[in-house]
């Protein structure tokens, strides 16, 4: 094809200008590739942080927190009664535990800082539009009291705090507490623990789930428990079938049991205090959140976005920086590159007045001349795109090779409560993790780079073509004289 041969020969002839124009475009394109790759790397890093928080496939979690800031005034009469019923004082009547000197053991289950609600709410949420699946969960603290029944005199002293014995818990009596979460094994992807979080052993098997337990890895290490061993909860023995990795900033429990078994042990049949919800699509999440709040008064709905908002640290700083400065860099880089390409093309057209005038004299139409100038620019743009992609890939590769460390700190999902002890699992804590940044380059990004380069070439070609179009052949030829 003659026109293409002409384009290529012109670009070869003006190697210097071609290279400068292509390099100008390449810098702009490389900036876009590198910054976008960095941004994708940061997204991926954030996703790695958030995935354990959200659980596999969980888009929203629903709870009914107690509003301590209002002194409980935000609760209805029924809710207050249930709160007292589920968490109210259980006096340790030592005289009723057995004969003085005999051994006793007792387990009590108390709720966390969340009110429980009926399992029927789970069914109701499941029926809402935009909900793909929903499963209930129950998180409790079991308080284990064990010791010897004190003698009557000791009891009196301990009860009234008189005499030489200081007031406080009875001697020879041990108290311990562990957090326990019930998991609906019919929905293994939705719950306090999911198969993906099990780092050793396995997840619950439906047939035998009532006798199985999964332990939090750090709890198991602390207590020296292993898969295949036994753990006691509420006075019952459970076979340890798996150990689960504590999710960063997640609401971990020491022990995970099958939901209905925990409800039975804790005397809370048909009660749950968390609902895990999967939406039909990401776009449905906000709508589902609103519907749940309307369907379950007082419900607190936490979405993946809320979780993302809880992440802080250099990861977030870098992401914010990339989001703001990166975009500005991309725009400035591209504008500068396009401007350079356009100015160089206009300059080249000015230098080629003689040639373009000759073309018009020998019968080239204005359209053909403009097309030729634009085609040269587009090829330059493609060359710049190729160079830019190479530079951008090198930049992204450099980032991946250096793999800078970023920290992500995630505030605990459990709401702060001023009441330690039976109402909660202690104060919420923050967890941090270090993530090595990479800069992945997708095919889509490469496509964008090529498009930008062609757009830059077209823009420069349009500028040069406009100049060429304005050339009157007589003036162009007179220019020679």
């Amino acid at each position: 094809m003659f026109y293409l041969k002409y384009v290529l020969s012109e670009l070869r002839r003006r190697r210097g200008r071609t290279l400068v124009t292509a390099l100008g475009l390449a810098v702009g394109v490389a900036l876009v590739v590198t910054v976008n790759a960095l941004s994708a790397g940061l997204d991926r890093a954030q996703d790695r942080v958030l995935r354990p928080l959200t659980g596999v496939g969980t888009d929203l979690s629903v709870s009914r927190p107690i509003s301590f800031s209002r002194g409980g005034n935000g609760l209805s009469t029924g809710e207050r009664r249930r709160l007292v019923q589920e968490n109210g004082p259980r006096p340790l009547a030592l005289t009723k535990l057995g004969k003085p000197g005999s051994h006793f053991s007792r387990d009590d289950f108390v709720a966390t800082s969340q009110l429980s609600f009926s399992s029927s709410k789970v069914s109701r949420i499941r029926q809402l539009s935009g909900v793909a699946a929903a499963a209930g969960g129950l998180t409790l603290t079991t308080i284990h009291v064990e010791g010897k029944v004190p003698k009557r005199q000791q009891q009196a002293q301990q009860q009234f705090g008189a005499g030489s014995v200081a007031a406080g818990p009875p001697r020879n009596i041990n108290l311990s507490s562990i957090s326990v979460a019930g998991v609906d094994v019919r929905h293994p992807g939705l719950g306090a623990v999911t198969p993906g979080q099990v780092s050793s052993g396995r997840f619950f098997e439906r047939a035998s789930a009532a006798h199985e337990a999964i332990l939090d890895l750090s709890y198991a290490r602390r207590k020296g428990l292993r898969v295949g061993g036994t753990v006691h909860v509420g006075g019952k023995a459970f076979r340890i079938v798996g150990l689960a990795q504590t999710p960063l900033g997640g609401q971990s429990s020491d022990v995970y049991l099958e939901l209905s078994r925990l409800q039975q042990l804790a005397g809370r049949r048909g009660r749950v205090n968390t609902v895990y919800v999967r939406a039909t699509s990401a776009s449905a999440v906000d709508g589902v959140s609103r519907e749940i709040k309307s369907a379950v008064p007082g419900a607190s709905v936490t979405t993946a976005k809320d979780l993302a908002d809880r992440v802080s640290g250099s990861l977030v700083d870098a992401k914010n920086l990339t989001g703001k400065l990166g975009l500005a860099l991309e725009i400035v880089g591209l504008v500068a590159a396009f401007l350079i390409a356009a100015l160089l093309t206009i300059g080249a057209v000015a230098k080629r007045t003689k040639e373009l005038g000759t073309l018009k004299a020998v019968g080239w139409s204005q359209r053909l001349v403009v097309r030729q100038v634009t085609a040269e620019s587009v090829v330059q743009g493609l060359l710049g795109g190729a160079l830019g992609i190479a530079l951008g890939l090198a930049g992204a590769e450099l980032v991946s090779a250096v793999a800078p460390s970023l920290t992500a700190t995630v505030a605990n999902a459990v709401q702060a409560t001023p009441l330690p002890g039976p109402f909660g699992q202690g104060q919420p804590t923050s967890a941090s993790t270090t993530i090595h940044l990479d800069a992945p380059v997708s095919l889509g990004l490469l496509g964008l780079a090529v498009l930008l380069a062609v757009a830059g070439g077209l823009l420069a070609g349009a500028a040069g073509g406009l100049r060429a179009a304005r050339l009157r052949p007589a003036e162009a030829l007179r220019h020679l004289e």
Binding site: F2, S9, K360, V362
Partner: protein, 228 residues
Amino acid sequence: MTNDRLYDLRSVSRVYGERANKVRALRDLDLTVCDGEFLVVAGPSGSGKTTLLQLLGGLDRPTEGEVLFDGRDLATLGDAELTGLRLRTIGFVFQQFNLIPTLTAAQNVEVALAPRGLDAAGRRAAVERALASVGLEERADHLPSQLSGGEQQRVAIARALANEPRVVLADEPTGNLDSATGEEIVELLRSLSNGGGRTVIVITHDPQVAEAAPRVVRLRDGTLEEAA
């Protein structure tokens, strides 16, 4: 030479600039050129020769008067019609050859054929024909930088002839050549008229070129005087 009028210029003036900067390149010029004629327009630099050539080639329009080509006033034609006229009917030869340095001799000739929409074989045949007519078929693959001045001008003439035009307009075709080569080029141009039946109009300030022409008109300060 036939007596059919190909060009008929009536009271043609061409003015550049405005007010204080006004330059009157041509003044009330009348000229007739017959079909198949070999005409030399002589005159010193700045006399308006190139302006006249551009009006004849449809590259410019007169400020006043009419430039009739085959009975049609070129001033009334649109850009597309003038482009078509230049492509099919008029061939240009320039003093500095105006070849594209990155293209071979054959490709430089092809430049004039490309807008015609011929297929590759048709273009190749036309290129070969044009180069053969100027005796440069052996130099088809040479770049302009590999050709002598005379050869470059021959390539330019081949480019002008590629579309087999009725008219060849040459602007100082020997200006950049030595006298011997210049004579060859003039002879070549004259043969286009005598043997080829084309109308050839050569603009020059070279008296030797003027001597070789059967008809010479002289331009002085934009006005025309017929030479003896």
